[in-house]
Amino acid sequence: MTPRVESIFRPYVPSDAERSDRSAGDRARHRLKVRESIRENIADIIAEESIIGQDRGRIIKVPIRGIREYRFVYGDNTPGVGQGNGQSEQGQVVGKGEREAGGEPDRAGNQPGADFYETDVTLEELIEIMFEDLELPDLERKALRQIESFRMTKRKGYRPVGIRSRLDKHRTVRERAKRKLAAALRGRMMPAQAPARRFPYHVDDLVYRHITSDVHNESNAVVLCLMDTSGSMDTMKRYLARSFFFLLYQFICTKYRNVEIVFVAHHTEAREVTENEFFHKGESGGTFISSAYAKALEIVQDRYHPSLWNVYAFHCSDGDNFDSDNAQALRTGAALAEVCNLFGYGEIKPLGSRYYESSMLNIFRRLEADNFHTVLIERKEDIWPSFKTFLGKDRGRDA
């Protein structure tokens, strides 16, 4: 008997290849886990990436701890064997620790730290992840409502076409039952066309739930962004303040459709500026914080009466106020807090900046209003936590 080997070739079928994306489901699931991981590390990402003023479609690289798969593996004191180029000698350094020189492809996954990789996320997506659990707090119903907010969940009737996940199985079964009954009746009249025993579902049986977008109005809201642009705000402080306001701005644009935003820049006097000026222009001069609050009050009186509007004011400053203005600032601040749903003050004191600078935090301590909150921003990592203190949904518990 002569041994034989048999073989067969199966040709490439393009249509098969296009149809089969077998890993799609698992990729989506992995993506979801990555998203969770990003959310946990968002403070670091914001601190590291200069996302300010970037186009929303921009792709940024976010380092994530890959969703690790753990198993028992050997640690650092594991010797290995490698192959040299013919001149290996004792004591020669062949690589760095951790990384397992070269690493055989089939072992790479076992090495700790090897799972650290970057993923591409658009700024849009990142912002979406960031703001998932934030909201403008204490939004009250006011007389004239203008803000539209969307809800996608409203169900409205049934349709013969739709996506698979909205298939209404119950009604589909019912449709089939009806058709079967009709066919049986017909069969009784015309026995020749009696249906076969198998009675499969037909496209006409399928019933899908229909979902419409539901718009309903919520209250009006205006957000006042007050920023100190005096000479004492150096590059670092301005950067921190702008980061904060940039996040705020993105947050409002993402989550609310019709919230009005007012930008006020101040040194010794305050003026209303455009978005572009606010984010990109520096000024100089002394600091009268009260001027900003007075301006804000003026704007509120003129355009956003608190009986019709929810008012939110956020102020960022280095707290280096002109001493004689402190009493005035406290007074106007209190007045502003009265008309606001939330009044937040962020004091920017980068680590290593001059500590003998005066601080408004001590002065504002005397301002007793439930809706007034202060935070201290010392470095880039603080921006996100402070942001969350102001707007987090769980804010109530911490406060």
């Binding site: 034989r4 070739f9 698992d26 753990y70 198993r71 640690g75 010797p79 062949v94 690589g95 070269g102």
Partner: protein
């Protein structure tokens, strides 16, 4: 077949000629099935270990993304070939590859095919059922996911945990697992004193008492199976998931255990076959380039293709042209061919290298042993007369499943509260602590009670524990 510069018939023609040589060289193969695919399909197959049907889990999505990123950025190419240990054997050919690569690949595939069929480690894998088994696993799993009372999240929680322990399993499936009754008999035998021909002059040894209620009687390596059989609170579907994961790793472990031999064997024979094919010059030159890309040594690391090929060549040399001392150890009349095929049947990587990786070859290949000192990896021994033994020991300890720490179950009722006691078989290499912590957490998830692990850290015995309150070290 639009874009490819050759027709399927051409491949079939070359395949016919290759098969003649396969038979001439004495390879014994399963029927072979080649499937042409594009690079996207290939990435998909790679992510799912080559299986046409495989159960879903996010880790495969992760693998796919990683492979695709590497491929898109040109960091790594795709393998020329992928073969599955099944009967009939299934191999994928990338249609974008050149004709020469396809010929090389086809020849290489027959090498793997023969190895899968012949080597002893694969004898339990039941290759005729491979594809069906994986498909059945996938179907069952999808059914659990679709069951309203179970759902994707619960399935994922069990799978995550089971994957973490998947390789904590028996390594040599040729050794039969003792049944419970046999284990009991053996425990009793071990406890009674050995037969002593000089009883009169010796003090009489008394039989030790054996605790036959201890679970397990002998340390058990199959963590998943043990948990499946001894945790009464697992639901049937959870048990089934553990079985699925166990069976799949039992299928893959032989491939891990024979990586170097297997790749070396296929490379050894594709070289033979292509040399004998008398390729036209253009194809032949390309073949030489490709072949050298595959077998080139990678400085600082170990290329299994290179190492395997060199050892197989050494075996053939020993058979055909032995040195006088080697001749003494060979049965008379043994040829290189005999040695090759004997080793192909009865070795796995560890024994293969132990038997055939000679000091001379190690020296020639300039193998060295490195270890970590501070932040650097430093060469501690080279393969000269003084150092080769240490180099070889280190190599043997880490090939195949040697790169996975051996963990055994000692007691399922430790501290009499159904805690699980595991022991790490410490051989000088410590466990990586972060991984150990998380893996213990997974073991705890499956076992439902506290889990303890005895090991050695920095030269001192240590016990790691994971309980309801989380991870702790040295509590017991």
């Amino acid at each position: 077949m639009s874009a490819t510069p050759y027709a399927l018939a051409e491949l079939e023609d070359w395949d016919g000629r290759i098969r003649e040589h396969v038979v001439r060289l004495g390879l014994d193969c399963f029927p072979q099935e080649f499937e042409l695919c594009d690079h996207n399909q290939m990435l998909g197959y790679m992510a799912y270990s080559g299986m046409p049907a495989h159960y879903p889990h996010w880790s495969y999505g992760k693998a796919y993304e990683k492979l695709k990123t590497l491929y898109d950025h040109g960091v790594s190419g795709l393998p020329y070939e992928m073969v599955i240990n099944s009967n009939p054997s299934l191999a994928y050919l990338m249609r974008d590859n050149s004709l020469c690569l396809q010929i090389l690949t086809i020849a290489h595939v027959y090498g793997h095919n023969d190895f899968f069929k012949g080597n002893f480690t694969f004898q339990h894998t039941r290759p005729e059922f491979t594809l069906g088994t994986f498909k059945a696993h996938a179907d069952r799993l999808r059914r659990y996911i679709d069951t309203p009372s179970i759902g994707a999240d619960k399935v994922e929680a069990i799978l995550d945990a089971a994957h973490a322990l998947a390789l904590q399993s028996r390594r040599n499936f040729a050794i039969r697992r003792l049944t419970d009754a046999e284990q009991r008999t053996r425990a009793i035998e071990n406890a009674s004193p050995p037969h002593d021909p000089f009883q009169r002059i010796h003090a009489r040894q008394s039989a030790q008492e054996v605790d036959l209620h201890k679970v397990p009687l002998a340390p058990d390596e199959d963590l998943l199976l043990f948990i499946r059989d001894h945790n009464p609170f697992l639901a049937d579907w959870e048990r089934d998931l553990l079985t699925v994961v166990y069976e799949q790793s039992a299928y893959f472990i032989p491939q891990i255990e024979t990586k170097i031999m297997n790749e070396g064997w296929a490379t050894f024979f594709h070289k033979r076959i292509l040399d004998a094919l008398e390729l036209p010059q253009a194809l032949h030159l390309e073949f030489l380039v490709r072949h050298n890309q595959v077998v080139r040594p990678i400085p600082g690391s170990l290329n299994p293709y290179h190492l395997g090929l060199r050892v197989w060549e050494e075996i053939e040399r020993i058979g055909n042209d032995p040195t006088p001392e080697e001749r003494e150890r060979l049965a008379p009349g043994t040829t290189g061919r005999d040695l090759l095929f004997e080793s192909r049947v009865c070795d796995r990587d560890v024994s293969f290298l132990r038997r055939w990786l000679t000091p001379r070859l190690m020296n020639e290949m300039d193998l060295f042993r490195y270890e970590q000192r501070k932040d650097d990896l430093v060469i501690s021994d080279v393969a000269d007369d003084l150092g080769w033994q240490r180099v070889k020991e280190t190599l043997l300890a880490r090939v195949g499943m040697g790169s996975i720490p051996m963990i055994r179950i000692l007691d399922a009722d430790f501290a009499h509260d159904r805690s699980l006691l595991l022991a790490h078989d410490h051989d000088g290499r410590d466990l990586q602590l972060e991984n150990a912590e998380h893996t213990l957490a997974y073991a705890h998830r499956l076992w439902g009670r506290d889990v303890f692990l005895r090991t050695v850290l920095d030269g001192k015995p240590a016990t790691l524990a994971f309980g309801d309150k989380g991870f702790s070290r040295d509590r017991a």
